[in-house]
Symmetry: C2
Subunit: 340 residues, 2 copies
Amino acid sequence: MKKKITLKHIAKELEVSISTVSKALKNSEEIGRDTKEKVQAFAKLYNYKPNNIAISLKNKRTKNIGVVIPDIVHHFFTTVFRGIEKYANKQGYNVIVCVSDESFDKEVINMEMLANGSIDGFIMSLSAETQQKQDFNHLKEVTEQGIPLVLFDRVSDEIECDKVVINDTEVAYQAVNKLIDEGRKKIALVTTEHYFNVSNHRADGYIRALTDAGRKLDDKLILKLPYKGIEDYMIEDFINTTDLDGILCVNELFAILCMRLAQKKGFRIPEDLSIIGFTNGILSRYCTPTLTTVAQHGEKMGEIAAQMLIDRVESEIDEQEETYRTEIIEATLIERESTK
Amino acid sequence: MKKKITLKHIAKELEVSISTVSKALKNSEEIGRDTKEKVQAFAKLYNYKPNNIAISLKNKRTKNIGVVIPDIVHHFFTTVFRGIEKYANKQGYNVIVCVSDESFDKEVINMEMLANGSIDGFIMSLSAETQQKQDFNHLKEVTEQGIPLVLFDRVSDEIECDKVVINDTEVAYQAVNKLIDEGRKKIALVTTEHYFNVSNHRADGYIRALTDAGRKLDDKLILKLPYKGIEDYMIEDFINTTDLDGILCVNELFAILCMRLAQKKGFRIPEDLSIIGFTNGILSRYCTPTLTTVAQHGEKMGEIAAQMLIDRVESEIDEQEETYRTEIIEATLIERESTK
DNA sequence: AGAGGTTACGCAAACGGTTTCGTGTTAATA
DNA sequence: TATTAACACGAAACCGTTTGCGTAACCTCT
């Protein structure tokens, strides 16, 4: 077993001091040609690589970024993560992922674990429970310690930090307008409980589109589903008791479920019923009929979040004039077979 | 901005030595009651938390584990990751994820980045390119340095380390037998290029099942698809030119594609054609008809991999008698609508 | 009162680097 | 020949902890 070699080993072997070795490896002008060559050759031979931890301690910079997301078995979050990882890696950063599992407590614990020096900054999307409780103290503590934070998708106005979101309201507005243009008269919204900020924005778009078109709003056309533990009957009841010919769903799963259950009831899609979902995931592309959906461009979102974070991390501490940005990514409607 | 407080700050403020503070916080018998209380109160007040990096340097243990996987936007890998993260977190470990993107070079670079002290051990699944090249030097270097390594799913016999796999051959055998029991006469196999070990094992099961049933093997019934960049025509040609009534696909996507394109050609599923896939992902559950599939129990796989790794990491270095285990997880066939 | 034992704390090394500053040697200059 | 600058290198501090060991002060017992 060849244990990792350190500066000390090289120094002893070559009978020079540790500082000489360190400088020689950095090609410092201070060190003579011969010594440099000798040291560098030796280091290469033994495949010397400086210890990241030691460097982190010295520099007070870990080159790690912490990502805390509610779920990892989830198409949207993984695409965002891919973007983060891609950009971060390019900049020489590694990514530590923690999954909050939609739990407030886990989110807090994860952040505390990471905030004690393990990472240079956070990229996060709030857990369902955090959004519900509206308790953001753990985030505020972190930012007060001077640790940069970038929030994406599930954000909150109460937290002052950089953010990346999509134009939820506008794109929902567009989606509903598409349904209106198709001639749909009874357009439903299938959404989550109120505490998800994105769902609310999408609902706003839905409402605005209908009112702008001079339609009456009808509460019976809005179905709120729990985030976890959905049962078929919840949707079936809705479909059975409601007269509708178009649905906007705030996520992909809702859309797929609606489509399946509507098909089961004999609806032809898109002839009798148009369906539009959010999240351009794998389901949307491979279900039958394929699903018209809002692409959130998660990968781009991740890249931008990572860029914002790393910029913050690397900007000299003073120049952080506490002026935070919110980057808005333009989502796009991808038309497929579930609409006309 | 409240910067993180250190032992040194506490020591100065309380006019004691750093070591006294350290010991007091650990409730050492060496320190007097009064001092301990004073220090602990002060530490709590200022929310002192020891710096992870400093501790890592001291202990030569980071409490981080490195996960290198080919892809993150991929159901199976994310479920495995979830298992890893779950177990690791419970044991106080954090997880650094690097995505090799099926590239050998990225795999090597990622491992090198992490191997310089950032992590205590690796959990990996080999990239496509690595399997193709059969070049495992980066893995051997890591293990020679004494860094524990656990391979899952995409493993290789050439690497000596702990492994977690599923009983691919047996479960493929079972799956094909199910098709035989259904009375299928022309059972096809849709697989990947040869260099994926799991595909080969699954192919073995396919072949064994057919030969055990006294069937003649027919090369025409085997379709090899590229791993990326699949075009519809590749499958359509196969379906058009081959007489078949049953298909075993080595992954979920292949199964979904076969199903879609067969349906398009007028096949009724499962009446005319039975399809079984691998990976019990979201597609299998929500496509129409739902897909009979082999559940690989990724989460369990991840948990076991993490457990094996952490056991290794925490066992005293000497007792590693170089006796590696390969844990085999029993995959199970989940029957749905795509088979009778 | 002196020996011996506690008690309660501090010193310093160590982990593996980086970096500032000091210094001995040599060669160039006056 | 004495002065000095350039060169090449080493000592030591530092990042934040942990921990073995030394020791001053006090106590107890004879």
